[in-house]
Each structure stands twice: as structure tokens, then as C-alpha cells.
Symmetry: C2
Subunit: 584 residues, 2 copies
């Protein structure tokens, strides 16, 4: 239970503020998160990590010599935006390339991916390695689809040590991939968690029961059981993690060297962890596994969730050397870092891209008129989401983390506010859409923030600040947005995502406009197609790295992202219809 | 809430086992707790800390180079026994003297005090510095009576650093005293905690309320309020801790250098702590205080209690240097410890006193007969406590930590079992009483374990293994036990402790025996005097370092220790009476 906060809306920001005030020895605040406050004598490949807040010490607590160079820190349980990631990358990179590494969640994949594209345009050699250690989030044959949980630590630590050892970006990436391939985690939970200011828990576990495989944002687990004894839990962990299906390629348990990481998810006590670890160690030793540098504590939490995970990191010679190398961060310290050789970094985010010029680019009267209509449409979108936010949260909680409604509310509110202000100041359509899109992805966070930011920005690029915003231009812009979203999100039609309604929407709109319909009429047809497609997602199982093995729970329930898009499309049609009637 | 354990009775032992398995790099298990697993090249003064379990990382988590040399670890929330402390001291000392330092609780004072006496007999120069940082446990003028809470860390750390720097025992003691004099802590709590296997919480805080000054074992606080915002809590902390009454002698806030330690008591999340710390740092800076090396995390917990404390450690030049010196322990690491210079210690407690010879000393038939009767008396004592354990716990919870009934049950059960076995094997009275007393203090733990262990051992010394156990000898032995208890416990009649019934009991017994009464008759009179005195403690306020400022809560309720003694005295009279009738 969370009791201490000021304003729930500013909670994540307030956390970063206090975190940096307490840990200035290691980190400085930069737009979007934190970056190291010192630099080693020789430039290093920059390892940039990140994700939603609420998982401390992931992610800011793992920044410092020998570990990460920067952490992008999003809202609670929501991915940082592409802009935030990009800012942290620019503040952290030292001219030798960048490794982005983070847990495999759709929102993070989108935002870190967009940031990677952006910095690559400036010639920065940027790579990505996803952490995929959660054994219950996809079958063994599909390790690449699994989510990342406490195994983050082994990947971050070895990549950071490789960077500190002077490895080039190819080798830092290789080490991170090897570490991820040799890391497996199994988690259980006894309770959900409640975010600041929330009246109800984000998710729950029935009293006295244990959810096996429950995700760190409440993604459904595979099974509910009674709570075993501490020794019984240790036996369960080891039965799964030493099972043949979960041994990394070419490994046999006997004689292998392993780092065990027993992680508390939030409100499980250290004392309980030690009692569990006692039996874990015995069982591993019985199996002939050699324990190296065991870790028992909190490494990736889920706010105040009561739960435990066990990670096994199967070493080879290089990974063991890198794991044991010195590191000195707010939350993870080992060995003797040569502090005297470090140089202070005093700028507070000077490495980040300068704040966008607040002056408005020139625009035509036509474009300003279109911009005003778009602002009205964004306000309609905000109202559409407000009306349905609770229901969107409810259906999202069935297969996801239940924050879709809240995230869409934050995003549409921010976008509508920015748009209203820019329209009043005379911005053109492109400027208004790009800045509204940035506001949406920054404030909305998560997957939906990333996607909607991308849709708005792509549409803006097509409309420009001077052109006359014809139906054909709008349809072409939304077709391009569709392509951009499917490319970034790596989701296809049928994966039970927003793509399921976005594709028929954009395709229908383009077809009807090409057939000669006016925008308002074409849009009505497109919105109807999107609505039908969104409803049909109730018959689908989720894909795209989400909880495939538990997808049956969401059968009969439509995808919240697809539903949002349909709701928005219908409400925007009303705006277009009114506008068409007024000009008729 | 605790969910993970095997057997609640072995929980504290299981914790130590898992803790040592995970942290063998720093600690090895020795009887009674842990000691460092490495030794520095040059011998050091040994800093030995300790207390009850359930406060991780206090105390075992703070053992390692640059910090403590050993930690005595008792049962949950119960002091380690004198034997446990002594064992850890012997395993940790390196020929340069020993500093015992621990929080000021009656049970710890007794047990560490007895251990100090024991090792001094062997020429070990052993000193004690009590930690007394909890500002709400006694008024400012009585700092020496205050309890020790999270401020433990500053005293332990600077003393450990002084030892590592080669200071002699005089100077290590001086540093610890100076650090304690400059450390102040204020705590608040939002919930109680529940120990493994317990059906009800050990103590509670009403839902939605905050208890100011609640102790880490549930000792009553000064006030209940609504839960403030995070900033509001920071303001409350600073208002008290920068108040004139709490500034150490000769200190003004402006320009002072301070280490702030913001400590989570168990289930408060790191994120919440950072939000509180953000405002704490602002307020300290506004007051002109310079922050040095802030600490935000868990340093002294109260199991799964939801609560927060803020410690301010007011530095001088020497203390700052010692605070910042390198340290490397399971839970507290700072700076670069020269690991290469450390030598492994491989014996597992060889430094501890060898296990007592299991062979029985010779004894007379008279003494064996007395021993059999004493074993029967101990069994009667066990039953007397079993019958009243719940009520003893209830009255203890009003001004204390509510574990008196449980501790007495553990202690009498262990003593009765040992006595029964030894009587069957033909032990004399002294051997039986000494070993039963050791079992009582080891298993019972806490203050009551220490006192009853002392009573049994002292009586045993008087009875011997050969003498005829006359009434005069028993009365003399119990008079000596009374003196020993008052000397160790530093309590006087009227402090609302067991002494209040022990003194009239022993005095009446001695007087009646001197007047010519038989033992059974004299004992009846003594038991009646003890009962009347125990009942009269309901009219007293507690003393002896206990919550003096909150003593009014216990007005009308007798002292549980005094009541236990009276219950035991009455039940033993029945045994004596039966024996007298049988021999009459």
C-alpha cells in the first residue's frame, strides 16, 4: 500500500528528484531520466537502460561506474517516451556508440526504437538488446517473445562491465546478447500493488494464494496455488529452472557455474528471502551447480507487490569475469572501483538535445484553419476517452496491466491542451500535430503513448504547415502512420493490438477517398470498419510479446488499444461531419 | 504480512543460515550469530554489534571490513543471550580489545553486560557504548535512557572505521560515544508487523493513521495523527529534529555538516522514500545545513512494518572522515576497500568457547534428590506460564512489545526439558540449575530470559552439587539472585519491573527462614508478598529505559515480569508443599 506522496500526477517526477538529491555522487538529472555524474578517464560505449518507474532499483539505481551510463525513467509502469530516451542517450554517449538494453515490453520497444532511429540519423552507432528472461511469458522455443524482469540485472551488469573494460560497441552488444541467452527467471506473487492516489489495487492476488508467473505489471500468470512453505517455494523454483526446457543451449547443471539472484518484488522481507535462499542454495548444490556471488535482495520490484523471483545466470568464463568486475551505483556495489580516476560531469543535461525552439514556424491561412479543426478533433478525442476510461482499464486488466485507460486519458489531455494553445497562437497543422504528438507520448507513456505520438507526427509531416489539407492528404498521412506503427511495433493484423483496427481504418479511408467520397463520408465508413475490427479482436489471442500462454483469459474481450482507436475514430467523425455541414 | 517460512520456531535460525549462504564473502556463521569471514592484515579492535532478529540489515548485514566484526543475532525481536554474545565476541576479537555497541533495550543491556563480564574475566578489554538516538523514547535531558533505532548505523560505522584505521580500544569507544551523542532519530509508523506463524499482528496502527514515535518493537508512540503528504512528513521530521531541544550540544544548524539517513521500516517503498527525501533535502538546505553522503533505504527495519524514520548525524571533522571511510558488508558498501589485503578466516566459530563438556560433574545423593525436586518445580513453572501466556502477552503489549508471554513459554519449556533430562541422568542441583538457566536464557531470549537465567545460575552456585539443600541455603541463594538481578538490570524497586516482586519475595523468604519457618511455609509467605507486590505495580509508571514518556498508558496494568514471578512463586509453593507433606 502506498501512503506517501504529494500529487499522484507528479509522483514519478518527485521520485527522480529525491533520488538524484540523495545520489548525486553517482547520477545527475537530465531530461527524461538520469545520467552518470562522473565520466571515466577513457571514453566508453554508453549502456543506456530504462523503463517505467515503480521498479526501483530498476532503473536509475543501476547507473554508475561499471554498470549503466544512463537510465530513461518513464511514468509509473509506463515506458519513457522516445524523446526521453533520446535525451538520456545524448547525455550519456561518449563517441564510442550506445547500447540500449531494457525489458521486452511493447511500449519500451517502440520508444527506445524511435530514439535509436533518431540518434542514428546523427551518426551515433546505437544498438539494442532486449531482456527476455521471464520463463512464463512465452514458451522456451520463443525466448525472444518473453518479457524482461529481474534478469535485467545480469544483462545490464555484464554489458556495463564490458563497456568499462574498453570493449567496442560490437562486443558490448555481443556480451549483452550472451548474458540474456543465459538468464532465466521465474516469479511468483502473493499480492498486487496499489499506485499513489489509486482507490483500488492495480491488480490483486486472492488472499492466501500464490500466482505463479504473474508479471511485474500484473500481467496474468499461469496458475494460482496455495502458498507453499519457504522450502516448498525454493523447490518449485528449482524444478522449473533446472528443467531441461529452461537450461540454456549446451549447458548441463552439474558442474555449471551460476549466479542466483533471489529478488523481492516489494513487500517481501529480507528475512523471508534468506529463508527461501537457504533451501535454494541447498538444492542447487545438490544438483552439482556451483554458486557464484549470490544476490539476495531487491533488484527489480513491482512497487509494493508481495512476490519473489529467482533468476539463474549461467556463466561462461567471460561473463563470470564481467559479472564480478567492480561496479559502484546507488543500489548495486561490488569490488573496488577506482574512484580517484573518475571525472565529475557538471552539466545538467547539456548532452541532451536543446529544448525545442518555442517560436512557431510560418504557416499558411489554410493550414491554420486545418490546425484549428484538428485541435477540435483532439478535444473530441479527449472526451471520447474520458467517457470510456474505466471500461478501457477494465478490459486492459484482463490480459495486460490495466493502465490503458489512464494512459490514454493522460495522453489525450496533454495533446488536446497543447493543440488548443498552439491553435490559438496560429500554428500550422504540422507544427500542431507534431507537438501534440510529443505531448501525448511524453505524458501518456506506455505503448499507446508511443503509437499515438507516432500517428500524430506522421500525419503532421504529410499535412505540412502550408498545404491545403485535402481528404487525399489526410488519407495518405494516415496510411503512412499505419505503416510507421506496424513497422515500429512489429505487430501484424491478428495479434490483438491497435493495429487490428488501425489497418482497416486507414485502408478504408484511403479507398473511399480514392473512390471520390468527401473526407467526412469516407471517415464514417473507415470508423465503422475500425469499430467492427475492434469488436472482432475479442475472438483473438494476444501476440506481440504479450502473455501468449495466458491469452485464453482475454478470449471474449476485445483489445483495449483497438477499441480506443475505434472510439476516437467515431468521435472525430462527428467533428468532421459538423465541419462539413458548416461549409456546405 | 509474513508469508514465507518453514517452521516459525526455527525462523530466526533459518534466516541466519540463508544469510550466511548468500554472503559468505563477508561473514561466517558462529554460535550465536556471525563473524567476519576475512581478517585485515593488522589486528583491529573488534566492534561487536547485535540485537534481536527481524531488523535486517541490522545486525548481520552490517558485518564486514570497515564496519562491524561480528553480530550477535537473537530470536525475532528478542535479545541474543549472554552466551550468544560471548561466543560472537570470542570469535571476533583479535587481541586488541572489544567494543560492544547496540541499541539501548533492557534485554540487550543485560545480555551484552553479562557477556562483557565473562570475557573480561579472561583479560579481554571489553567496553560498551549504548545507542540512544530515538528522540521520543525519553526527554532530551535523559538521552542516556533513550532507545536505539536507525541511528545504530552511524555509531557502528564510525566505530568500525576507527577500528579499521588502527585506533586503540579507548579511541574506538570515544568515537562511538561521540557519534551517539551527535545522532538523533525520529520515527513514524503506519502499520504494525506480523511475525511468522502469528495469527494476529504483534501490534497495529489504526488504518489511515500515523503513529509518531512508535518503537521498532511496537513500543507506544507519543501521538496518533492523520497521514500527512510526503512533504508534510518531511516538514514534521525537520520541525522536531532541528528544534533547539534536539540539536547536540554546541551545534547550530546553519553551517553544520550532517549525514541524513532516511530509513524505511519494512514495507514502505524506495519510491516513497525518495519523494519524502526530496523535501527533507530542501528543508535542510533552507536551514543552511550541508548534506553529506545522504542515505535513503532500509538500515534498521521492524520486519514488515510500514514506517519511516529520519536520522540526522551531526558531523565533526573526525566523524566525517570515519563516516566516509571505505566499508564493505552485505548491506552497506562505500568507497574502495582493499580486498586484496584481506585474509580468509576459515574456522567456523573456533574462536568461540568450546562446547561445554556433556559429562556430569560428581554429585551427592542429597543434591541429586534436590535436583529432582527442582526439575519438578521447573515443570510446574512451565505449566504456570503456559496457563497465563496469552494474558502476559496482552499486558506486556500495553507498554512493551507484547512478547513476554511467548518468551517465557520458550524459556520455561527449554529449562524444564533440560532439567528433566539432567535429573534422569543424576545431575546435582548446581549442574541442573546452571544448565537449565542457560537453556532458559538462550531459548527464551529477551530481558526475561536473561533475568531468569541469572536467577537459576545464581541459586545453583549456592546449592552446589554436594551440599544438602536446606531452606537457609535456598533463601541465601535467592537473596544472592536478587542482588545479581538488580545489579545487572540496573532497576530498582518502583521501576515497574520484575524486581518489584523479586525483592519482597527474596526478602520475605529470608526473613521467614531466619525466623525458623520450614521452606514450604516460608515460601508461601514469600509468594504472597510477591503477588501483592506484582499487583501493586499497576499503580506505577515504567522506568529503566522503557517508554517513560508513554508510561501513563500502562497505569492500571501490572508489570508482566513481576506478575510472571508471582505466578511461578505460587505454583512452586504447591510443589514444595506436596514434597513437605510427603516427607512429613
Amino acid at each position: 500500500m502506498t501512503r506517501l506522496w504529494n500529487d499522484p500526477a507528479s509522483f514519478a517526477d518527485d521520485v527522480v528528484d529525491g533520488f538524484v538529491r540523495a545520489n548525486g555522487r553517482w547520477v545527475r538529472r537530465v531530461p527524461g531520466g538520469v545520467s552518470r555524474s562522473t565520466r571515466s578517464a577513457e571514453p566508453e560505449v554508453a549502456v543506456v537502460i530504462g523503463g517505467g518507474s515503480g521498479h526501483y532499483p530498476a532503473f536509475g539505481g543501476l547507473v554508475g561506474p561499471g554498470l549503466a551510463h544512463g537510465a530513461a525513467m518513464g511514468q509509473l509502469f509506463a515506458s519513457p517516451s522516445a524523446q526521453q530516451v533520446e535525451s538520456v542517450v545524448r547525455a550519456s554517449e561518449q563517441g564510442r556508440g550506445v547500447l540500449l538494453t531494457f525489458g521486452n515490453y511493447a511500449g519500451d520497444v517502440l520508444h527506445f526504437g524511435a530514439a535509436q532511429e533518431a540518434v542514428r540519423k546523427d551518426g551515433i552507432d546505437c544498438r539494442t538488446v532486449l531482456v527476455t528472461d521471464d520463463i512464463f511469458s512465452a514458451p522456451p522455443a520463443e525466448q525472444h517473445r518473453r518479457r524482461g524482469i529481474a534478469g535485467d540485472l545480469t544483462v545490464f551488469k555484464t554489458a556495463g562491465a564490458a563497456a568499462a573494460a574498453g570493449y567496442g560497441v560490437d562486443d558490448v552488444e555481443r556480451v549483452a546478447r550472451a548474458a540474456n541467452a543465459r538468464t532465466r527467471t521465474m516469479g511468483v506473487a502473493f499480492s498486487g500493488c496499489t499506485l499513489p492516489g489509486a482507490e483500488t489495487p492495480l491488480f490483486t492476488v486472492p488472499e492466501g494464494r500464490m500466482a505463479i508467473g504473474l508479471g511485474i505489471h500484473g500481467e496474468p500468470g499461469i496458475e494460482l496455488t496455495d502458498i507453499p512453505s519457504a522450502a516448498g517455494l525454493a523447490e518449485l523454483f528449482i524444478r522449473y529452472l533446472l528443467g531441461a526446457a529452461e537450461l540454456p543451449d549446451g549447458i548441463t547443471a552439474r558442474g555449471a557455474r551460476v549466479v542466483p539472484v533471489l529478488n523481492g518484488l516489494g513487500s517481501v522481507k529480507s528475512e523471508e528471502l534468506f529463508v527461501v535462499f537457504s533451501r535454494v542454495a541447498e538444492l542447487l548444490e545438490d544438483a552439482g551447480v556451483e554458486l557464484v556471488d549470490p544476490q539476495v535482495g531487491e533488484f527489480c520490484t513491482s512497487f509494493d507487490m508481495a512476490g519473489v523471483s529467482l533468476t539463474l545466470f549461467w556463466l561462461d568464463e567471460e561473463l563470470e569475469r564481467l559479472w564480478l568486475a567492480p561496479a559502484d551505483t546507488p543500489a548495486f556495489r561490488t569490488g573496488a572501483v577506482d574512484v580517484a580516476s573518475l571525472q565529475p560531469v557538471t552539466d545538467d543535461g547539456g548532452g541532451a538535445r536543446p529544448a525545442e525552439d518555442d517560436a512557431l514556424p510560418e504557416s499558411s491561412e489554410d493550414s491554420r484553419r486545418a490546425a484549428a479543426r484538428i485541435a477540435a478533433a483532439l478535444e473530441a478525442m479527449r472526451l471520447a476517452i474520458d467517457d470510456e476510461a474505466a471500461e478501457l482499464g477494465r478490459i486492459d486488466a484482463i490480459a495486460g496491466d490495466g493502465d490503458h485507460g489512464i494512459g490514454m486519458q493522460r495522453g489525450t489531455a496533454a495533446a488536446a491542451a497543447v493543440a488548443s494553445s498552439l491553435a490559438a497562437r496560429g500554428a500550422g497543422a504540422q507544427t500542431l500535430l507534431e507537438r501534440a504528438g510529443d505531448a501525448w507520448s511524453n505524458r501518456g507513456g506506455g505503448t499507446s503513448g508511443a503509437i499515438w505520438g507516432l500517428i500524430l507526427r506522421t500525419l503532421g509531416e504529410h499535412l505540412g504547415d502550408a498545404e491545403h489539407a485535402t481528404g487525399a492528404l489526410v488519407a495518405a498521412g494516415l496510411a503512412a502512420a499505419k505503416d510507421a506503427v506496424t513497422a515500429y511495433g512489429k505487430a501484424s493484423v491478428g495479434d490483438k493490438t491497435l493495429v487490428d483496427s488501425l489497418v482497416p481504418f486507414a485502408d478504408t479511408l484511403a479507398a473511399r477517398v480514392a473512390a471520390g467520397d468527401g473526407l467526412a463520408d469516407a471517415w464514417r465508413e473507415a470508423a465503422e470498419a475500425a469499430t467492427a475490427a475492434a469488436e472482432a479482436t475479442a475472438n483473438l489471442l494476444p501476440g506481440m510479446g504479450r502473455a501468449r500462454t495466458h491469452g485464453e483469459k482475454s478470449l471474449g474481450v476485445p483489445d483495449p488499444g483497438a477499441v480506443s482507436l475505434a472510439l476516437i475514430a467515431r468521435r472525430v467523425h462527428a467533428v468532421l461531419d459538423t465541419a462539413a455541414a458548416a461549409t456546405a
